[in-house]
């Protein structure tokens, strides 16, 4: 009984800490920093644009050292990598053109539970720019998932 009373007496900060423990994580990965610096070099940078959006179905919390998604869809529901190639754009959040934006549209070829997503610099494998995990998004056959990735610098 005493234990129940203690748990029931959690203060607002304890509740907030518990809430934050459930947070989805979004990261600008270590490899993403290398992608950005590489894109600055030369008239035609050898570093490819990280314009390939990917989906994953595994559980986990994204951290900056990640190089892959959690169980990326590479076989099964999608035939091959479920990546889409999308032209990135510069958009304005606060200052003119301060944000890189990439809009990806996926059509589910069957039932799928999507738990994380990211941007890569290649259609297969490649280097990870940003990654986010989130509450499961359940898709059924022919459902369309539109993801908008934003990376704001100012």
């Amino acid at each position: 009984m005493e234990r129940t009373l203690v748990l029931g007496g959690l203060g607002p900060l304890d509740r907030l800490a518990g809430l934050l423990g459930q947070l989805a994580a979004t990261v600008f990965s270590t490899s993403g920093k290398a992608i950005c610096s590489g894109r600055l070099i030369g008239a035609t940078p050898s570093q490819a644009e990280p314009k390939f959006a990917a989906l994953g179905s595994g559980a986990g919390t994204a951290v900056v050292g990640d190089t892959t998604l959690f169980t990326e869809f590479t076989v099964g529901t999608w035939t091959g990598y479920a990546r889409t190639s999308n032209a990135g754009t510069q958009v304005t959040t606060i200052l003119t053109n301060d944000t890189y934006q990439n809009v990806a549209v996926f059509t589910a070829p069957g039932a799928a539970a999507v738990t994380n997503a990211g941007l890569f610099d290649a259609l297969t494998v490649g280097n990870l720019l940003i990654k986010g995990d989130f509450a499961t998004i359940n898709l059924a056959l022919n459902d369309t998932l539109t993801l908008t990735f934003k990376l704001q610098f100012a």
């Binding site: 809430l19 979004t26 986010g132 908008t148 704001q152």
Partner: protein, 55 residues
């Protein structure tokens, strides 16, 4: 004296999602994943998501 200021991190990263069901129903899930350099902005987003039932 010169002064060089470089941000090591971006200001904000977000992933927003919209699901269009096969029958045409549109579900705007909003920002499903979000990070902001300001912890207050991150907390505000987390609390808003929690209250909306989005985990």
């Amino acid at each position: 004296m010169s002064d060089l200021q470089v941000h090591g991190r971006p200001v904000m990263i977000s992933i927003t999602a919209v699901v269009t069901r096969a029958d045409g129903t549109v579900e705007d899930l909003g920002a499903v994943s979000y990070w902001h350099r300001s912890p207050i902005r991150r907390w505000a987003w987390a609390i808003r998501r929690y209250l909306q039932g989005g985990g």
